[in-house]
């Protein structure tokens, strides 16, 4: 039995995130096509999209400032940094103490902050609209995220992801009511942060419904490729974040090579099932009107709070 170095595992995780995130998006699109009775472009279509964008030239608006050119690189770099920290295939990571779950959420918020600024940089109505809506949705989601984290950290007695995953993975897999409520809230968070229906539609360019797309409308070429790749990784990482917090069973706790291979296999299955769940929601409900989101996100907050209360009352 060969033991893998934690540094190697960390690098492996980055490679996995960079490589699997487009496949995951391809999986979502494929399921969506099937459920709507269309034939799909295959699992690897997102790769082809990114590759095509990378060879294209950039056309930049005349008044674009450095913020507009810097944002794609930041949007790409934040998920890469996060993939060093989130336990995806193993909890034995070199740099997992760098950031706990609160820091991770805030790191993604930094990327969002810059995306919103880039949306306002050119001075179009669409960009400002996207930025305004995105920040509004984000501010309503934040309390729900925090309450979900609170519940998880109560049960795991930590906010460090690797530690939470380790504690839960070594416990008996039972349904704890507090975690079920928190998981429901976190599922909503995944939909919001991933920009999926019913909050936002990633495949629309209709002005009334755009949120994330409206901000990045002016991007082209490799800038757009980096942003697209970054947002794919973001969706994937939020899903793995949910996995690490709520269903970490099967994750490797050591650097044992077979354990890691097994853990990778489990991760693919878990992520695939969650992807199917996302598609189920997306095809099941229509996109919500912007001001209906208050109730939707308020519901998520309520769920997370219920989770916390049930922890105190039942456990």
């Amino acid at each position: 039995m060969k033991e893998l170095n934690p540094i190697f595992i960390t690098v492996l995780q980055v490679v996995i995130v960079l490589a699997i995130a487009p496949v995951f998006i391809g999986w979502l699109n494929m399921l969506k096509c099937w459920s709507q009775g269309r034939s799909s472009a295959g699992l690897l279509q997102p790769y082809r999209d990114i590759a095509k964008l990378f060879v294209k030239d950039i056309v930049l608006a005349k008044n674009a400032s450095w913020i507009f050119r810097f944002t794609p690189y930041l949007v790409f770099s934040v998920p890469v940094v996060a993939s060093v920290i989130i336990p995806i295939i193993s909890t034995n990571l070199l740099l997992s103490p760098t950031a706990d779950i609160i820091v991770l959420i805030a790191l993604f918020a930094t990327a969002r902050f810059f995306t919103a600024l880039a949306g306002m940089d050119i001075g179009t109505a669409f960009g400002g609209m996207g930025a305004s809506r995105e920040m509004m949705i984000a501010s309503l989601t934040e309390p729900a995220i925090l309450m979900a984290i609170f519940t998880v950290s109560l049960a795991g007695k930590s906010t460090s992801l690797a530690h939470i995953a380790q504690v839960f993975a070594s416990s008996v897999p039972i349904m704890r009511p507090s975690l079920v409520f928190a998981a429901i809230a976190f599922a909503v968070v995944i939909l919001v942060e991933g920009g999926r229906i019913p909050v936002d539609n990633p495949s629309t360019h209709l002005e009334l419904t755009m949120v994330h797309e409206a901000m990045i409308l002016e991007y082209s070429g490799r800038h757009l490729a980096l942003i697209e790749w970054g947002s794919m990784m973001r969706v994937f990482l939020f899903v793995t974040l949910g996995v690490a917090c709520f269903v970490p069973w099967g994750i490797a706790k050591t650097g044992n090579i077979t354990e890691i291979a097994l853990s990778f296999f489990f991760m693919i299955i878990k992520v695939g099932i969650i992807g199917a769940g996302i598609v189920f929601v997306e095809t099941g409900i229509a996109k919500m009107r912007l001001f209906r989101l208050t109730e939707f996100l308020g519901g998520a907050f309520l769920m997370a709070t219920l989770g916390m209360l049930s922890f105190f009352i039942l456990e």
């Binding site: 990378f54 030239d57 950039i58 056309v59 608006a61 005349k62 008044n63 400032s65 450095w66 913020i67 690189y73 790409f76 770099s77 890469v80 940094v81 740099l95 103490p97 760098t98 609160i102 820091v103 805030a106 918020a109 930094t110 902050f113 949306g119 306002m120 940089d121 050119i122 001075g123 179009t124 669409f126 400002g128 930025a131 305004s132 920040m135 509004m136 984000a138 501010s139 309503l140 934040e142 309390p143 925090l146 309450m147 609170f150 950290s153 930590s158 906010t159 460090s160 530690h163 409308l217 002016e218 490799r222 490729a225 980096l226 001001f291 907050f301 709070t305 916390m308 209360l309 105190f312």
Partner: protein, 682 residues
């Protein structure tokens, strides 16, 4: 004279009087006066920063009795770690702002002499330093009034506008109501300390040694908290802040918002933890709840503003709220004797105190540069400044990221520490608090996210896009002293964000003296300065340094891989989905940006929105013009202040009826008074 922290601090205070004298000596040459006065102020502030840092790192307490003041009531001065920390905060920001002022004051024009600004600016810093050094009620209150008076004249600097005079008056009234409450609080404490027998109780030392009965302690605390809250701008006593800060010159707003509000925080910590010592949990709950209300309401009000400086002033309300959340939690934990947790919460609050001083000072300095360049405070008349003021834009952006609590800058560190303190609250023994306090964490998260939304708006509308106003002045970048002042503040925002352990270790000394426990974040291991681990390492840890390095490395790799391979960038017109008739009026502005939030949280405000269409006579379907009028008002003004003002006017009108101007009436009044007094005596 031996070189000790307190002597250094006193020396810096004496040095601050030199610019005041300079004003009298070299009035003819404003350039020399300006440069010399503010350089000296910067030097003196730096010395007081050193004095504070020295005290904090050595952990010693210096005391001194100055034989000035009333006979038999000399001034007591004391520099302990807590005072040292606040001395450091005031000194550091005053240092940056003084450098900035060398350039800024030039732009104030030649209409009025700058000597008035120089005199009150220096006296204002002197007042703040003396408040922190004071160790008896008398000198504290004298310094407090000194500070309030000097800042009143600074707010009134551009006194030709009615709104400035009105704002300054409002500030003076609320400052004095607060000062009265503080005076009464000290009176109660001094009285109890000596059993209302003599005057010896006025020193803080005798208050420290006294034991207070719960009733008297509560009276003293409530009065003191009310007084300090009026200065700090805690909701509902915040109304003066958004009036006074915008009209003062920006260097003064930076100091008022960045550090003057902090003297009130100092007062709260000093009175509760140090002078009164022990307290019931509900005091902490009161501070916590008011802190939460201030944080959420402050940021919501800020979102509704389109006046740049008014918006920043409301953000001060928010940040004072965040600081009070930390202090309130520390009080609750202390009252249940969870000293390590109390240390964490107190350090979080104090850390945010320094952070807020840095980023709010930076933002007000940046706002000063913007207002100076555009002659405009309304953000909706700005836009695209990043192309004309690249340096200011970068520094302002640093301030925006820091205040929005985003890693790896400093605002995030203190909010993260506050969250960690919140996460520990379930170990409290009272079941009700276990359930209620975590909801506070959700409100804090909401505050942080709304602040981010607000600063996307501020930076996006002011610095990005196209110019939104009608006529566009020629805009230049600011001069070097202003840039250096802002750069230093921006650098401290970054440093406090990536290497927080240094300051947390220093703050440990305060926690030890105030709540009796330490955090020991850097207990063991190499490279321990990189990791901020407030409790056990497996509980939570954060390394802003590694996060920053990681981001820099990945960005560089991505840039090298993708940009250098084919770095071609073609510049073209705006695409905008192929829409051709785009003009600059179609951009989002401050009012439209906050519209979704205004709609969701609208019930907190008094909003009046009026839309009027001017139809074309020939074809009514195509209107010529649209008038949009929005007025957002603070509800507290109508709820609390207006009734009080009306009642005051009503009473004085009734009293005025006594004065008829006829001599025989006044004679009758005197006669009746004498009869009544005689009746009482006999």
């Amino acid at each position: 004279m031996i070189l000790s922290p307190i002597n250094l601090a006193i020396f810096s205070i004496v040095l601050l009087f030199v610019p005041v004298l300079l004003c009298a000596l070299i009035r003819q040459n404003p350039l020399v006066l300006r440069v010399m006065a503010f350089s000296l102020a910067a030097f003196a502030s730096f010395l007081s920063f050193i004095a504070g840092l020295w005290t904090l790192s050595s952990g010693v307490t210096n005391q001194l009795i100055l034989p000035i003041g009333l006979p038999a009531l000399p001034f007591h001065l004391r520099l302990d770690p807590l005072a040292g920390f606040f001395l450091m905060v005031v000194g550091l920001l005053a240092f940056f702002v003084s450098i900035y002022s060398i350039g800024y004051v030039q732009g104030l024009g030649t209409k009025r002499p700058i000597s008035r600004l120089i005199v009150f600016y220096n006296l204002f810093i002197v007042g703040m330093l003396c408040v922190i050094l004071a160790d008896d009620a008398l000198s504290f209150l004298i310094a407090w009034e000194f500070m309030a008076g000097a800042s009143y004249f600074l707010v009134l600097f551009e006194d030709e506008h009615v709104e400035n005079r009105r704002a300054a008056f409002l500030y003076l009234v609320i400052a004095h109501i607060g000062a009265m409450a503080i005076l009464l609080a000290f009176g109660v404490m001094a009285g109890v300390a000596t059993g209302f027998g003599n005057f010896d109780g006025y020193t803080f030392d005798s208050m420290r040694q006294a034991t207070f009965s719960p009733q008297w302690a509560t009276v003293a605390f409530v009065l003191a908290f009310f007084g300090f809250a009026a200065k700090a701008g805690v909701i509902p006593l915040h109304v003066w802040l958004p009036e006074a800060h915008p009209v003062a010159p920006s260097n003064v707003s930076a100091l008022m918002s960045g550090v003057m509000l902090k003297t009130a925080i100092y007062g709260i910590v000093r009175v509760t933890f140090d002078l009164l010592g022990s307290f019931p949990w509900w005091w902490g709950a009161l501070v916590l709840v008011l802190g939460l209300i201030s944080a959420v309401m402050g940021v919501l009000y800020a979102l509704m503003q389109h006046d740049l400086k008014k918006l920043l002033a409301y953000h001060s309300v928010e940040n004072i709220g965040i600081i009070l959340i930390g202090i309130g939690l520390a009080m609750i934990f202390t009252s249940f004797k969870f000293t390590t947790m109390a240390a964490l919460a107190l350090i979080a609050g104090l850390y945010h105190t320094l952070n807020h001083a840095m980023f709010k000072g930076l933002l007000f300095m940046g706002a000063g540069a913007v207002v100076h360049a555009t002659h405009e405070r309304n953000m909706d008349e700005m836009g695209g400044l990043i192309h004309h003021m690249p340096w200011t834009a970068v520094f302002f952006l640093v301030g925006c990221i820091s205040i929005s609590a985003l890693p790896p800058f400093n605002g995030f560190v203190s909010e993260w520490l506050t969250f960690q303190a919140f996460l520990l609250s379930p170990s409290l023994p009272a079941p009700l608090m276990k359930l209620i306090i975590p909801l506070g964490a959700a409100l804090l998260a909401l505050t942080g996210a709304l602040a981010a939304a607000c600063f996307v708006k501020v930076f996006g509308v002011t610095f990005l896009g196209h110019w939104r106003g009608h006529n566009r002045p020629h805009i230049y970048e600011t001069c070097w002293p202003m840039r250096i002042g802002m750069m230093l503040a921006a650098m401290s925002c970054l440093l406090l964000g990536i290497v927080p352990t240094f300051l947390v270790n220093l703050l440990d000394g305060i926690a030890e003296t105030m709540v009796g426990s330490k955090l020991n974040v850097a207990a063991s291991g190499t490279y321990n300065w990189m990791w901020l681990t407030p409790m056990q390492p497996e509980r939570a840890s954060y390394s802003g340094f590694i996060v920053l390095i990681g981001i820099i490395i990945t960005i560089s790799i991505a840039y090298l891989l993708f940009h250098l391979k084919s770095g071609k960038i073609q510049r073209g017109d705006i695409w905008d989905c192929g829409f051709e008739k785009l003009n600059h009026n179609m951009q989002y502005n401050a009012i439209s940006f906050s519209m979704p939030i205004r709609r969701i949280f609208g019930f907190y405000f008094n909003i009046r929105e009026r839309v009027r269409l001017m139809p074309q006579l020939t074809s009514p379907a195509f209107p010529l013009k649209l008038y949009y009028n929005l007025r957002v008002r603070d509800r507290f003004w109508g709820w609390i202040y207006k009734p009080i003002i009306e009642a005051a006017f009503g009473i004085s009108r009734q009293m005025g009826k006594l004065q008829q101007g006829q001599i025989h009436l006044y004679l009758i009044y005197s006669f009746v008074t004498i009869i009544v007094l005689l009746a009482v005596v006999l």
